[in-house]
């Protein structure tokens, strides 16, 4: 033991490890027996009494650290008492105080530490330690100790009473460290709540308020994470902890309110708002006029909306508080006194309601009216009659509109205070009713007149709609008759008003009301809307005399209104009825005619409205979705399937791809929102139809019409039947992983499907079958049970066709597409077979005609396809699969690119250019789909390739690459800045339709011309070569490319430092001038935006 002690004491400051090891050994040793602690103290004796302050401090540190690390059960109660005494006595030794405090803190956490010990220790610390003379860590320990004491030994501490309060004030006085302040602020709150502070209120206030307003700014690499906001909130909670602070705080807070610093003002207002409820009305009342004066400035001359909103909130809190105040003597109520100047100021402004300050006046009145029932009553009775008579006497519509805006503020205030109409209103007290009720008839009349006025000033009519809507929302306000009148107006506007804004506003009101009162809205709006929808295609064309809404417009309205379950249930049969009529009218009534096909646009719109509604309902987690799987979906499937089995297979609108897509979408959105059991039953039924061809199980089945068997999964069936395979695909791709498919031999099914996919001439069917196969391989390959089947049968089968040079090109392409889908399914589940398949695809890049298909196949493999193998459709998607794929493919792609350019020795021939193009296309698909952080780390070696991509003629490739540059500019500033010399001229070329005419030359400034691609000389020569070849031809930069290039140039101006950009500024501005005259408006807009950004570049650092 003695040896360990001396090792520690004698260890130099630089051999921290040695010291730590010694302490560890000592703690272990002391832990073995209670007696050892005594030995330690004895052993330390000579050092603790040493002449050297350094040695004493070190010895104390050893003891304190031991106590802090030691298992406390090894120390008995007696020892704790003795140690506390020892530590308290020694606090006179200034050199050791920091270490002693640590020891006391450690002891205070012991179970055997008593309340008496606590009092003793506290007294000693308060008496002997002049806290503010010590460094931050020591002060921190003091506050931690007090914190522990108040938390654990509150009862004992309270006996110290104001002695402790006073002592604490002394300790805090002068504290500046944010870490200590955070702790101190918590302590102040505790002290205010638990101690008698009566004698020291002013001292405590002063030592607290001196930090207001907080101006702290954390250091750049702040390791403690304390922000100015933390401190502000901490301080605010202290100030709002007791009403005793009121008389000191309010004058000072008012003074800070007039400060010129925005943040001090904000802090003052927020603090006043936090304090007002605590300080109470009697404290606030004397200051009510000054409070209004201070806040008025903030609202009328607000520098930003945020500050204005805070001022309004503060005003409201004060008004709320003053409302509960009792009047003193002969004076009027506090709230009335407070409101009087406010009302007169605001009403003065409202005499000219169309001017700028009227709006804030309205908002002020709104905040006051929201504060309480008495405030609302006072404000209402003082202002509304005047406002109403102003309205009547005015014939200026801008003025009328501005007055309506103020009335709208009142309606909003009332709704906040007195509640919204709707099913939950019973909870409210029925006597608690808005004072606006007195004026209800006038309001209704005014807003109705505004809606119906034939004024050309739209804003007035819009305000009318908003007013009626707000009145309907008020609890216990309008009668049912009045509500139905208002709703009727909205419906008429939606159906008849020529103005778009009016239509939208009325529709918005109906949408919001549909949720609160579905039966009213449903009964009045839906029949009217459906009345407007044509039943036959011919009906759509005639009738130009009476202007009619387009079906698209009506359906959009229906989609907005009919979300609520009962309304949706009413809409579905009506849509199906319209659809049925249309399907019949296009096929001569018997489903077998050929007198021209109905334009599918309208039926598609009908179904899309259902799809949109279902999607929105799914988003809102409505629970009525599953029931439509038994009713809506089978009905639609029947409508799509039955026309394909009639004798003549005539044209029918239900056979169009567009219809099949939407029906598929409806099926999918319901399918993915039902549970496994329901899915299983449904899949069983679907297999019965599509695999067995058994149509008799379907609703509305008519045996006489089934003239041809239904075989949608055959390569030789009718095209119309084959197309319906997409409906089967939506069901299977929407299956949960737990939903087993109802087949005995999954491998046989899969193999059969692949065979059809490869041999069918119908690409639409092939797509559906590939999706089914991919889903099976992705979701049902549990425990790799299909791996063997895949490697021995399925993949060789596909590869054989792909490689077969004697086969027709279409067959090989078909096989490759299916192959890509299969690869995708496996890559998602991180199955190594998937990577091998991707490798095989890369080998195809130099095979004529197949190369491009293989390169585009990467879009399938790694890109996201809507609804297929997504998270929402329960695909197996392993963590980081994109990253793994990236790591696997990128080196091969880069190598392949470099290899294919160097192999052609006499210079890049057109065929090697094509191969390199394929590598770049595949790379762009990969880059577009990897998470940004990975892209950023892997970017540098890829940059030359990306630059190269910009000089290929392929517009898709260019747009995609520009997009990549744009997305990384912000995060890879330095890297992009290094390449500006190449990038800027290239991008400028791409902003012109022909690209060839760019005048860009590298900037004159020699120092800024970057030469960084030196490590890959072959690439650079390659770039020059292709640029010249493509420049000579007609390189057409599509609108998409031009827009992307402009956005990317704009991004550069936004993100890169001025010094990097300045050499290019004049060139960019000059070249962009020509783009201002682009023939496409979209491009011109982007050019204006981009050019403004470059104009705005300046070396000045301005906020």
């Amino acid at each position: 033991m003695d040896r360990l002690i001396s090792t520690f004491i004698l260890s130099q400051t630089d051999s921290q490890e040695q010291a730590d090891a010694a302490i560890n050994d000592i703690v272990n040793d002391v832990g073995t027996s209670p007696m050892k602690l005594l030995l330690l103290v004895q052993g330390l004796g000579e050092y603790l009494t040493s002449e050297e302050a350094f040695v004493r401090s070190k010895a104390t540190a050893l003891l304190s650290t031991t106590l802090a690390t030691l298992d406390q059960s090894k120390v008995n109660a007696n020892a704790v008492g003795v140690l506390v005494d020892f530590y308290c006595d020694r606090l006179t030794d200034q050199a050791c105080v920091p270490e002693l405090l640590k020891g006391l803190l450690a002891l205070s956490k012991y179970d055997k530490f008593t309340g008496d010990d606590c009092i003793k220790a506290c007294k000693a610390v308060l008496a002997l330690v002049n806290v503010q003379t010590y460094q931050q860590t020591a002060r921190h320990t003091v506050f931690l100790f007090f914190d522990q004491a108040i938390r654990q030994y509150l009862k004992s501490m309270q006996t110290l009473g104001s002695e402790f309060v006073f002592g604490f004030i002394q300790c805090l006085d002068g504290e500046k460290d944010p870490r200590n302040l955070m702790l101190a602020f918590t302590l102040i709150k505790e002290i205010i709540q638990n101690f008698d502070i009566a004698q020291h209120v002013e001292d405590l206030f002063e030592v607290t308020f001196c930090y207001f307003p907080i101006t702290f700014r954390p250091p750049p690499d702040d390791p403690y994470g304390i922000t100015a906001d933390h401190l502000k909130v901490g301080l605010r909670e202290c100030l709002a902890a007791t009403p005793y602070f009121a008389k000191f705080a309010l004058p000072l807070l008012l003074e800070k309110l007039s400060s010129s610093s925005g943040s001090a003002k904000k802090d003052s207002m927020e603090t006043i708002a936090a304090c007002a409820p605590v300080y109470g009305s009697s404290a606030l009342e004397p200051y009510s006029e000054e409070l209004w004066n201070g806040l008025r400035n903030e609202i009328f001359h607000a520098t930003n909306d945020d500050l204005e909103q805070i001022a309004l909130n503060t005003l409201q809190v004060i008004a709320t508080e003053l409302s509960v105040g009792v009047s003193m003597g002969s004076n009027s109520d506090p709230i009335e006194k407070f409101l009087r100047p406010i009302l007169s100021d605001c009403m003065a402004q409202l005499e000219k309601p169309e001017l700028k300050l009227a709006k804030p006046s309205g908002r002020i009145l709104k905040s006051c009216a929201m504060a309480s029932d008495p405030a609302c009553t006072a404000v209402t009775s003082a202002t509304i009659p005047t406002l109403l008579s102003q309205y009547t006497s005015s014939d200026q519509s801008t003025r009328k509109k501005a007055l309506l805006d103020v009335l709208l503020d009142f309606l909003d205030a009332s709704r906040t205070l007195y509640g919204t109409a709707g099913p939950k209103e019973t909870e409210r007290d029925n006597d608690f009713i808005t004072p606006l009720l007195t004026f209800k008839d006038r309001f209704f009349e005014i807003f109705t007149n505004a809606v119906l006025s034939s004024n050309e000033y739209n804003a007035l009519r819009l305000a009318g709609i908003k007013g009626l809507h707000a009145m309907i929302l008020l609890r216990e306000f309008l009668s049912e008759t009045e509500i139905s009148y208002a709703v009727q107006y909205f419906v008429r506007i939606v159906l008849e008003d020529p103005d778009i804004e009016m239509q939208n506003e009325a529709l918005k009101s109906l949408t919001s009301l549909a949720n609160i009162m579905p039966s009213t809205v449903g009964a009045m709006a839906l029949p009217e809307l459906f009345e407007q929808l044509p039943d036959t295609p011919s009906e759509m064309e005639i009738d130009t005399v009476i202007p009619r809404r387009t079906p698209q417009y009506i359906l959009n309205a229906v989609t907005k209104i009919a979300l609520e379950p009962s309304l949706f249930a009413a809409v579905v049969p009506q849509v199906l009825e319209k659809l049925g009529k249309l399907a019949r009218s296009g096929s001569n009534g018997n489903g077998d005619g050929d007198d021209g096909v109905v334009d599918p646009a309208y039926p598609i719109a009908l179904l899309t409205s259902l799809l949109d509604l279902l999607r929105a309902k799914a988003e809102l987690k409505h629970e009525d979705l599953p029931k439509y799987l038994d009713y809506l979906v089978p009905h639609l499937l029947g409508m799509c399937i039955f026309p394909t089995v009639t004798e003549r297979d005539g044209p029918n609108v239900m056979k169009s791809h567009g219809i099949l897509e939407v029906v598929g979408g409806i099926t999918r959105v319901i399918m993915i929102h039902v549970d496994t059991a329901v899915q299983k039953t449904f899949v069983q039924a679907i297999f019965n139809i599509f695999v067995m061809g058994n149509l008799s199980v379907m609703a509305n089945y008519d045996q006489n019409r089934e003239k041809v068997p239904f075989t949608p999964l055959s390569a030789t069936a009718r095209e119309s039947q084959q197309n319906t395979a997409t409906l089967l695909a939506t069901v299977i791709t929407g299956c949960r992983q737990e939903t087993a498919l109802p087949v005995d031999d999954l491998e046989a099914l899969t193999e059969a499907l692949v065979n059809v996919a490869v041999t069918t001439p119908n690409a639409y069917q092939r797509q559906a079958l590939s999706e089914i196969v991919a889903t099976i391989v992705n979701k049902y390959n549990k425990g790799n049970c299909l791996n063997n089947f895949l490697t021995t049968k399925l993949i060789p089968r596909l590869q054989q066709t792909i490689q077969d040079e004697s086969a027709v090109y279409e067959a090989r392409e078909a096989a490759l597409t299916t192959y890509s889908w299969l690869a995708k399914a496996l890559v998602l589940s991180v199955n190594s077979i998937g990577y091998e398949m991707a490798g095989e695809m890369m080998k195809l890049f130099n095979v004529p005609r197949m190369g491009r298909v293989a390169a585009d196949g990467f879009r399938i493999v790694i890109g996201e396809q809507a609804d297929i193998l997504t998270k929402e459709t329960f695909a197996v998607r392993r963590l980081l699969y994109k990253q793994r794929f990236f790591n696997y493919c990128t080196p091969v792609l880069v190598q392949g690119f470099v290899g294919s350019s160097s192999s052609s020795s006499p210079g890049p021939s057109s065929s090697s250019n094509e191969v390199r193009h394929h590598f770049l296309v595949a790379l762009s698909h990969v880059l577009r789909n990897i998470p940004k952080p990975i892209l950023l780390t892997e970017l540098p070696p890829l940059l030359p390739l990306l630059v190269h991509s910009l000089s290929f003629p392929d517009p898709e490739l260019k747009a995609s690459t520009i997009g990549t540059f744009q997305s990384v500019t912000k995060e890879a500033k330095e890297l992009i800045a290094e390449h500006l010399g190449t990038l800027v001229p290239l991008l400028l070329q791409l902003t012109l339709p022909t690209g060839a005419a760019a005048t860009s030359t590298p900037p004159a400034s020699g120092t800024a011309t970057p030469t960084t691609v030196g490590s890959t000389p072959t690439l650079m020569t390659g770039i020059t070569a292709t640029t010249t070849t493509s420049g000579a031809g007609a390189t057409l930069n599509t609108m998409k490319v031009r827009v992307a290039a402009l956005q990317c140039l704009g991004e550069l101006a936004k993100d890169l430092p001025f010094t990097a950009l300045v050499p290019y500024k004049q060139q960019v501005l000059k070249d962009l001038e020509r783009v201002l005259d682009d023939k496409k408006r979209f491009v011109r807009r982007e050019a204006v935006e981009c050019r403004s950004l470059w104009f705005a570049l300046s070396g000045n650092v301005s906020a």
């Binding site: 169309e354 001017l355 700028k356 995609s960 520009i962 997009g963 609108m1039 403004s1092």
Partner: protein, 170 residues
């Protein structure tokens, strides 16, 4: 604050009917979109007033109806309405419109900017200044003035959310 020329101006709502409606051939690479008065209005409507954090459109200083564009004849005429007839900011506002159009319209256009007839007490003088190339250039040499102009233009946008899907998202 009390030194503002017009401390409490009338505010106008921006009209929704003033927004360009997308047409089907906007996305057609080969279709030709002519520069029209709406396009010029979109360029200047969101310029800030030098006195208030409000746009020229909100103060009714610029109106769609007061802009004439002849794309084939390469001419643009913009008339603006000062908020009050003695507004000393009229020239500055005109200068902001001038600079914005200098930067955003192809140089083939001859742009005339003038105060709307009868809306300013010294409209002739203002018009003369605004359409004198050399005086405009001289004004922009003044770095303080340029800074004020740039500040008013900082809020100027062409009222667009990106209407084409950006390639990164496609």
């Amino acid at each position: 604050m009390s030194t503002l020329i017009n401390a409490n101006p009338t505010i106008y709502e921006s009209k929704a009917s003033n927004v360009r409606v997308l047409r089907s051939d906007d996305d057609d690479d080969d279709a030709f979109d002519a520069i029209d008065s709406q396009e010029v209005f979109d360029l200047i409507r969101s310029i800030s007033d030098p006195e208030h954090p409000l746009s020229l459109e909100q103060l009714n200083v610029t109106q769609l109806e007061h802009i004439q564009v002849d794309d084939d004849g390469n001419r643009v005429l913009v008339e603006f309405t000062p908020t009050i007839p003695h507004c000393s900011m009229a020239t500055l506002i005109g200068l902001c419109i001038r600079v914005r159009l200098l930067r955003c319209l192809p140089s083939r256009f001859k742009v005339d900017i003038s105060v709307r007839k009868g809306t300013h007490q010294s409209e002739h003088a203002v018009n003369k200044q605004l359409n004198d190339k050399e005086r405009v250039a001289a004004a922009l040499e003044n770095s303080h003035l340029l800074e004020v102009v740039n500040q008013c233009l900082a809020t100027a946008n062409n009222g667009l959310a990106p209407s084409l899907a950006s390639p990164a998202a496609a």
